[in-house]
Symmetry: C2
Subunit: 117 residues, 2 copies
Amino acid sequence: MAIDMQLVPKTKRPAGERCCEPVVYPDVERDHALRMAAIAKALGDPVRLQLVDVLRKHAGKVCVCELVPLFDLSQPTVSHHLKVLRQAGIVGSEREGLWAYYYVIPEALKELSAWLS
Amino acid sequence: MAIDMQLVPKTKRPAGERCCEPVVYPDVERDHALRMAAIAKALGDPVRLQLVDVLRKHAGKVCVCELVPLFDLSQPTVSHHLKVLRQAGIVGSEREGLWAYYYVIPEALKELSAWLS
DNA sequence: TCTATAGATTGACAATTGTCAGTTCAATCG
DNA sequence: CGATTGAACTGACAATTGTCAATCTATAGA
C-alpha cells in the first residue's frame, strides 16, 4: 500500500513538553529482532560469510580440512568462526573419525531472508 | 540440482603432505563478501535492526525525535546507531530546520537479500 | 602401544563496539 | 540579541571480537 506515514512533528513544541507519545514496541517484535540480529551478526564477518557461501555451494557436507586452506588464517581461527556460526544455528557439524564436516542449516537464514525482502 | 559435491578427503594422508590443493578464492567473490558482510554487520545489532524495521514500515521519512523514544537509550546512542547505518549505506538522512529525517535505501539490502535466498 | 593427524580449546593480546555524560552546533523563537 | 531545542560529536569506559601460539583430545595407522 505504501501510504505515506511520515512521522514528523507538526511544529516546535513548547519547552518541557514531550516530542511525541512514547510508542511501545511489542515484545514479539523485539524477540524477532533479537533473533535476526544474532543471525546478521554472525554473518557480519567476511570470513564467516564466505564460509557459509562455500558450504551452500556444496550441497553436501564439507570437511574442515578443505575449508582451512581457503583462508589466510590459522586453523584455530577458522575453527573459531565455525563455532560462532554453529552457536548462531546457521551451520551444523558432524564428526566422522578424524574429520569434521559442516553444513548449512537453511531454515536458519529464512527468517532474516524473509524480512529483508 | 543439488548434486552431492561433498568435499571429503579420500584417505588419511602420509605425513607432511598437504590435505588438498589450495583453492584460490576469486577477488570478485571476496569483494562481494566484504560488501555483504558490512551490511550484515550493520544489521547485527538489535537496535539497528529495529531502526531499519521502523524506517521501512513508514514509507516516508522518519524524524529522529520520533525514533529516540522507541528505545531505552540515550539520544547520542541512537544517533550513533543511525550513523553506523548511514556509513553502511543502509539509510540516508536529510535535515530540515531543527529536525533530521531518516529513510531506508532499499538497494542497499538487495545484494544481501538476493544472496540469502 | 607409540606416533601422527584433524580439529577444538585455552590464554593472551590489540582492535573494535555499545553506551552514556558532557559538550557543541545550527536553527528557531521571543 | 539571548534562550531553547534537535541532533551530532567527543571522550571515556567496560565488554566483545578477531587473531594466533600453544596445548589438548580423539582417532587412525604402524
